[in-house]
């Protein structure tokens, strides 16, 4: 039996992979939201970089622009934008994910004045008219990148990028199925680590990494978790936190996170141009509480995930002042508890060390309540 190899935690914003890419003359575009099709950037030969804070929770500069009533994750990301950490980016793509995110992008651009700054406007529901608009938005993005970087984005290049991304999604699903096993050979925090790592890599390189990890872990010995947990919530890259939670004896065998299963839950088979297919797949499969009249869709995704992974309990985790996740949390708790899955709701600040002790105590108590604590 093979021994499990360790998976490196992403902690550096301007990591070696991105440095090498830049040194070879490559362009990097930052984006934040999973509603941004990375395929368009990849087809342009650009490295898509999903903005993250990777545990850096300082916000002094950002607090001069945004208020303390704004999401600490957005403020932490803005801080890294303002202090120069993200100066390696060749541009930014804004999306209207939420009010906090919009404020973050606006302040970033007011101060840094990037040459390439594009606003990709994403509708708040999936319907024929909103789809047509979003499709138009993707065309505008494609044109803007083409014009600014003088790179033609052909349909062929898009097809290739889409096919690679689909391979990535398939690998992620495979990874998640390993995590859902009775004795998972990979932990929840390792899966999130890998997803976060991949968010600043080209798909061709990332696929190699994923294949290697999956091959190694497939035959590796697993460990039966004391408690099987599902983590629900927003975009968060706090791998340290997830490790701490798992160190208490529970394992995150499933998630509905934005840096997680929400990003690759489903692929919709559809005919048409590459941009049309991208539009359908991104807008229809956006399982985010920013989408209105679509709670039922999110609920089905969550229920299916919980049942498939046979979870004992769920933790809804979100940053203070996040109304979208905070409100959805009430519905999630009601619906999961109705089918016998206990739920713990944890409101916290982004990666705040001061919050960790409190969170651990609550998770510990929760696990004791559902019968798996030490």
């Amino acid at each position: 039996m093979k021994a499990a190899v360790s998976i490196e935690k992403p902690t550096t914003i301007y990591n070696d992979y991105v440095k090498d890419w830049k040194e070879e003359g490559g362009k990097v575009l930052g984006y934040c939201c999973v509603s941004t099709p990375v395929e368009i950037m990849e087809a342009a030969g650009i490295l898509p970089y999903r903005i993250a804070a990777l545990g850096h929770s300082e916000t002094e500069l950002a607090d001069g622009e945004m208020s303390l009533f704004n999401c600490s994750y957005c403020r932490a990301c803005l801080q890294l934008g303002l202090d120069g950490t993200y100066d390696f980016l060749d541009g930014l793509i804004e999306t209207n994910g939420c009010d906090h995110l919009r404020a973050m992008f606006e302040n970033w651009q007011h101060i840094k004045k990037l040459d390439f700054f594009h606003y990709l406007k994403v509708p708040h529901f999936f319907r024929e008219d909103s789809l047509a608009y979003y499709e138009g938005e993707l065309e505008i993005l494609r044109d803007h990148i083409t014009e600014h970087f003088s790179i033609e984005i052909t349909d062929e290049a898009l097809e290739e990028a889409m096919s690679k991304q689909e391979e990535v999604r398939a690998k992620w699903r495979e990874l998640c199925s390993l995590r859902e096993m009775e004795e998972p050979p990979i932990s929840g925090s390792e899966v999130i680590s890998l997803i976060v790592t991949g968010s600043s890599m080209r798909s061709e390189d990332y696929l190699q990494l994923l294949s290697r990890i999956i091959d190694e872990r497939k035959g590796a010995p697993g460990k039966k978790p004391k408690v099987r947990l599902m983590l629900c919530g927003p975009a968060t890259d706090e791998v340290d936190w997830f490790e701490e939670i798992e160190n208490l004896g529970g394992m995150m065998v499933a998630d509905t996170l934005c840096f997680g299963a929400r990003a690759f839950n489903k692929t919709t088979e559809v005919e048409g141009s590459p941009i049309h297919r991208l539009a359908v797949n991104y807008l229809d499969n956006l399982f985010c509480p920013r989408m209105y009249t679509e709670y039922q869709k999110r609920k089905e995704f969550m229920m299916e995930t919980a049942k498939r992974a046979a979870v004992d309990g769920a933790i809804v985790l979100y940053n203070k002042f996040c109304d979208l996740h905070g409100v959805d949390g009430v519905l999630i708790r009601r619906d999961l508890e109705e089918i016998g899955i206990p739920v713990l709701i944890l409101e916290k600040e982004y990666s705040a060390a001061a919050d960790l002790g409190r969170v651990k105590t609550r998770v510990q108590a929760f696990m004791e309540r559902i019968g798996g604590g030490d």
Partner: protein, 480 residues
């Protein structure tokens, strides 16, 4: 405390508010002594509402008239279902004339319900807010719509047939609490999203969205929107627009002849009454009273100390200590973000042309226009800067609301750019629109007084010529 003021069997906050409002609406000939007497008799929260509305003569003349009209509309809402109509809740950013254009659907503004509960019921909206917190809802939500909707969860009382909201795209807390109420209570929801796109493409999409919403409401209600009815409502709406424009012009005059509390009245008119006769009647009265004050030179304070623009929204849990207090101090409130309306030229010739006009009105509706803009910070600052210049404001007061992450996230830019572009300083405060527990009104008063004394009064005072420096004395001991 008289139990009758609290809540009676079978009543909820809204019903209680109507009962008390009904009494106020009948006080047409009340004297100063009777106002004082009534204020002594009631609990503090209602006292502040009564005094805010009735203490100053000009306010009293309008507000009694206004409350009597408002209570009639509330009663209509209460009875709508019995009369075979469907009752829908709409947020304060939704033009009610869209719903009034249907004969069988009646709109009730969520935040006006919340405001009525807050300003009229014993304990304000606190029990409703606390109930929401008890359900596990985040305390970062907006009290204005949370109070207005959560009282539905507690029952008894009115039960809307649907929620129609247009905040997706411009305000997360507003949109989310409406969606939540629908999902939780199983009430149908209809939405009108604001694309964050001011281009022709964005406006056209919005028009298509509006037509889709109308079609959905038609299917749901079984009523086809009639062109004649739409025209009738839109014509009334535009009668009000003419008066609104006149009202705006009156606010430019120094000292301002428009009483402060009229700004609050305008907000309620726009959110609940627009498209009806009552909006025209009340606005006409607002204009008439202001003109009369202009003619007689009536002004509550010895002088107009400052003309302030509330760069976001008023705090609406204590009319007396906000509107009246500032008026007595000689501080004129010229408006807030909700007072800036853009009404296009209306083409009444066809249903299509009127719907297109309505789409433009809704697109540029206060808050939707700024917070649903391509750039919140820029559009918000530009619009307030326009009002500041046009009305001759000396200062801005940003009474931030902790729920409003869009403005709080861009307020630093706003203050900086407002100063750069207009030279007008902004005072920054954070509190809550309906919950006094967040930041008490006394704190606002202290801050405003300091701001006016230290910044505005000095700025307005004539500049003193500097005395020439004395020549250095040969003998240092002679220097005083």
């Amino acid at each position: 405390m008289d139990k009758g003021f609290v809540m009676r069997d079978g009543e909820n906050g809204f019903e209680r508010a109507i009962a008390i409002l009904d009494m106020i609406g009948k006080l047409s000939d009340i004297s100063d002594e009777e106002v004082d007497g009534a204020a002594e008799f009631v609990f503090p929260e209602l006292r502040n509402t009564l005094l805010g509305a009735l203490e100053l003569h000009a306010s009293r003349e309008l507000e009694v008239f206004f409350f009597s009209r408002l209570v009639n509309i509330f009663k209509e809402a209460m009875n709508a279902q019995e009369e075979g109509k469907k009752l829908v809740f709409i947020p304060f950013t939704f033009p009610p004339e869209i719903i009034y254009s249907f004969e069988t659907i009646f709109p009730l503004c969520t935040e006006i319900v919340g405001g009525a509960i807050t300003n009229i019921c014993y304990g304000q909206g606190e029990r409703f807010w606390d109930y929401a917190m008890g359900m596990g809802l985040p305390d970062s939500l907006c009290s204005a719509n949370t109070i207005g909707l959560i009282h539905l969860f507690m029952g008894p009382g009115i039960e809307p047939d649907a929620l129609v909201y247009n905040s997706p795209g411009s305000c997360n807390p507003n949109a989310k609490i409406h969606a939540f109420a629908s999902d939780y209570l199983g009430i149908p929801q209809f939405i009108l999203e604001k694309p964050v796109d001011e281009s022709t493409r964005g406006r056209e999409l919005y028009f298509q969205y509006l037509k889709k919403l109308i079609a959905e409401l038609e299917e749901w209600s079984g009523e086809k929107l009639k062109e004649e009815r739409l025209r009738e409502v839109m014509q009334k709406s535009y009668q009000a627009v003419e008066l609104y424009n006149e009202f705006w012009e009156l606010k430019k005059i120094k000292p301002c002849p428009v009483p402060n509390i009229f700004s609050m009245t305008l907000l309620i008119l726009r959110s609940q009454m627009w498209g009806r006769d009552e909006a025209v009647e009340v606005l006409q009265k607002m204009v008439d009273i202001s003109k009369e004050r202009l003619r007689t030179g009536e002004f509550e304070a010895p002088e107009e100390v400052a003309r302030v623009y509330i760069s976001y929204i008023y705090w609406l849990f204590d009319f007396y200590n906000y509107f009246t207090w500032m008026e007595k101090k000689g501080i004129t409130i010229l408006g807030d973000i909700l007072a800036i309306h853009y009404f296009p030229e209306m083409d009444f010739s066809s249903k299509e042309s009127m719907l297109r006009g309505l789409a433009d009105i809704a697109f540029d509706y206060p808050m939707t226009r700024q917070m649903g803009a391509n750039q919140i910070s820029v559009k918000w600052m530009e619009d307030i800067a326009y009002a500041v210049k046009d009305l001759g404001a000396d200062a801005c007061i940003f009474g931030g609301v902790h729920a409003c992450k869009h403005t709080l996230g861009t307020a630093a830019y706003f203050r900086r750019e407002m100063m750069n572009k207009t030279g007008v300083p902004t005072m920054m405060l954070t509190g809550d629109v309906f919950d006094k527990r967040h930041t008490p009104m006394e704190m606002l008063q202290e801050e405003v007084e300091l701001f006016i004394d230290q910044v505005i009064s000095k700025k307005k005072a004539p500049k003193r010529r500097r005395k020439p420096a004395k020549k250095a004395a040969a003998n240092p001991e002679t220097i005083e």
